[in-house]
Symmetry: D3
Subunit: 134 residues, 6 copies
Amino acid sequence: MATVRILKDEELSPEAAEVFADIRATRGSDFVNNIWRSLAYDPPLLIATWERVKTVMAPREDGLDPLTKELIYMAVSVANGCQYCVQSHTAMARAKGMTEAQHAEFVDLVMAASSTNALATALQTPVDDVFEVE
Amino acid sequence: MATVRILKDEELSPEAAEVFADIRATRGSDFVNNIWRSLAYDPPLLIATWERVKTVMAPREDGLDPLTKELIYMAVSVANGCQYCVQSHTAMARAKGMTEAQHAEFVDLVMAASSTNALATALQTPVDDVFEVE
Amino acid sequence: MATVRILKDEELSPEAAEVFADIRATRGSDFVNNIWRSLAYDPPLLIATWERVKTVMAPREDGLDPLTKELIYMAVSVANGCQYCVQSHTAMARAKGMTEAQHAEFVDLVMAASSTNALATALQTPVDDVFEVE
Amino acid sequence: MATVRILKDEELSPEAAEVFADIRATRGSDFVNNIWRSLAYDPPLLIATWERVKTVMAPREDGLDPLTKELIYMAVSVANGCQYCVQSHTAMARAKGMTEAQHAEFVDLVMAASSTNALATALQTPVDDVFEVE
Amino acid sequence: MATVRILKDEELSPEAAEVFADIRATRGSDFVNNIWRSLAYDPPLLIATWERVKTVMAPREDGLDPLTKELIYMAVSVANGCQYCVQSHTAMARAKGMTEAQHAEFVDLVMAASSTNALATALQTPVDDVFEVE
Amino acid sequence: MATVRILKDEELSPEAAEVFADIRATRGSDFVNNIWRSLAYDPPLLIATWERVKTVMAPREDGLDPLTKELIYMAVSVANGCQYCVQSHTAMARAKGMTEAQHAEFVDLVMAASSTNALATALQTPVDDVFEVE
C-alpha cells in the first residue's frame, strides 16, 4: 500500500494530465506506470521529475546505448534495495532487448560488486596513488 | 589506514604470489592494486575472490561489452558508498575507453536513479501487475 | 510475515503490558502499532526501546517542533529503505498536522538529497576546508 | 582525491561560470564549494543540478522553514553515509541558525531512527492496516 | 513477484538438477528454498553461488561455530535491508539452535550498531591512531 | 575532520567526565576513544548512548560470547559503510581474541552475505512459506 493515493486518469489535475500525455507520446504506449500515478498528487514535482528522467534517458550523440542505461539504473536500484525500481527497470530493460543471458551477466556483476564493496570496506583498503586524476 | 597489513611483493606467501602473477598476466600490467594486497593475508579468500572477479569480468559470447561491465560495477559501488571501489573502477573504466562525456552521462543516470529510488520508497509505490514475469 | 510472533494484548507478559499501558497513556490513544507487538517477546528490549523513543520524541525547551522531528525520522527511514518505518512515520506526521504540500516538499528534498549524495560519492568530492569546526 | 578535476574559477567554461555567478548571487557569498567545482566539467549537468537544488531549497508559501529543510537533507546524507554531504549540510545548517542543542537533538533522532529501522527490518514487522491512505 | 521464473524441480536443466541434488545432500533435507529456484535459470551462476556459499558456511578448523556464522549473515542482511535474506537466515539460525533469548540479544546488538554507525557518520568522528595495524 | 569538536579530558563537563570515568572503569583501560570524545558536547546523549552500549555488550546468562557480539557489530558496520565503526570494532574484536583466521572467515561471510543479498534483491525472490513463524 502506498503512502499517497494512486491516481486514475480521471482524477488527474490538468497539469498532471499534460505530463501523462507526454509520457504516452514519448514512450509510444498508452500504459502509464504507478510511479507517475503516485506522484501525480504534486504536479510541480511530477513535472520536474518527468523532465529530468526524460532528459537523462534520451539518447545523446556518442552517448551510452539505451540498454546500458537501463542496466546502470537497475544496478543502482538493486544496491539501494528499491523493490519498485528493480521491478520496473528490469521490465523496461527486457522491453529494450535485454536477453536472459545478459540479465544473468548483470546479476553476476552486481553480486561481484556487492561482494568486493564489502571486502574493501571491511579491510578499509587505502586508495592507490595511481588512481589520482592529474 | 587499513584494518590489515597491505603486503608488498616480497611479503607474499607462495600461494598469494601465484595469484599476483595471474593478475599481472591477465591484465598485461605489472601493477597490482591495494585491494589484492590487503586480501593477500588470506590466500584461500584471495584465490576465490580473484577467480570470481576474473570469471565475471571475462568477455562472454553475446555478452555485455567491457565498458558496460565497468559502469555497472561503478553504479553499485556508488550506491553502496564504497570509496575504494568508486576510485578503482572509475580508473579502470577510463583505461577501457570511457570518455568524459560518458562519465558525465553515467553520473547523470546514477543521480536520477538515486532520486527516483527515494521517490518510490517514500511513496511506497506498489509494483504494477504488468511487470510480472509470466 | 514477521520473523517473530505479533502479540495480542492478551498474550503479553506483565512487563510488556506495562509498557503498552504507558504507550497508550503517552499517546492518548488505545491503538498500539505492530512494531511494539513484534518486540513484545523481549520485555527488556521493549522497555529500553520505548524509553529511548519516548525521550527522543518528547518536546525539549528551545528544541525542534514535533512535525520537524517526524520529518527527520521519515527521511532516515526512506534512505534506509525501511518500509514499516516509512509507513508508520508518514502516518504519524499526518496525525501531527503534515499537509499534502509539506509532504510533497519533503519528498522533493529527499529526492534532491539522494541525488546529490550520489553525485558527491561518484565524484569523490573532497570536503572544503571552510567546513572545519574550529 | 576526486575522480574528476576540481575546477578553479579561471578554468570554468562560460556556461559553468554563469552558474557560479548565480550561486554567488543566490547565496550572497563569494564562496563556491567543491561539489559545484567537481561538477563543473559537465555544464549541462551542473545547470540541471543547480536549478533543481535552488528550486528545492527556495522558500514556498506555507512551506517548511529553511532550517528544517537542511535537517532533512542532513538526515538523508547521514543515512546514505555521504561524508561530503554531512559536512557541507551541517555547516549550512549552522549558518542558518542551528544551535548546538538542536544539533544534539538531530543526532539523537537520527540514531533512534536508524535503530528502529534495524528493528523493523530484523523482525520484518508487518505494516498496520490503519496506516493505509484512504 | 520475482523478476525471473521460480523453477519447479521438473523444469530444471540437468546442470541445475545436479546442484539441487548437492544442496539436498549437503543439508540432509529435501527442501530447496526459493533463492536457488530463482537462480536456476542461469546454471553457471547457480553453480558458482552454491559452491561459494557451501565453502563459506562449511566448518573450518578453529573456525567460527555455525550459529555465529548465521548471525553474521543475518546482521549483514538486516543492514542491507534484504527481506528474503533476513527471513531465510533467521529460519536457518533457529534450525541451528538459536534460542529466543539469543535472537533478542542479536536484535539488541543490531539496533545498537545501527545507532552508533549513524552517530559516527553524523559527527564524522576521526579514527583513533591506536586502531592502526602495525 | 569532525562536525563537532573532539573534547580533551580537561574540556569535559562534570557529567561527561563521570561517563568517561565509567568507561575507564568498565573497560579497565585509561584510553577513551574518539566516538565518546565527539559525543561529549551533549552530556544527556552521551549518557544514554554509553548506558545503552554498556548494557548491550554486557554478558548475559546463556547469552552470546563477547567475540561473537563484536563480530555482529562489525558486520552491521561494514554493511552500513561506517569507517569509524569498522576500524574501532575490528580493533576491539582483536583485543577480545579474534585470530587472523577468524577475521578472514568473517570477511568471507560478509562478502558472501552481501553478494546473496544483491542476488535476492535483483531477482526479487519471494519468501518461502516454510519460513513463517507459527
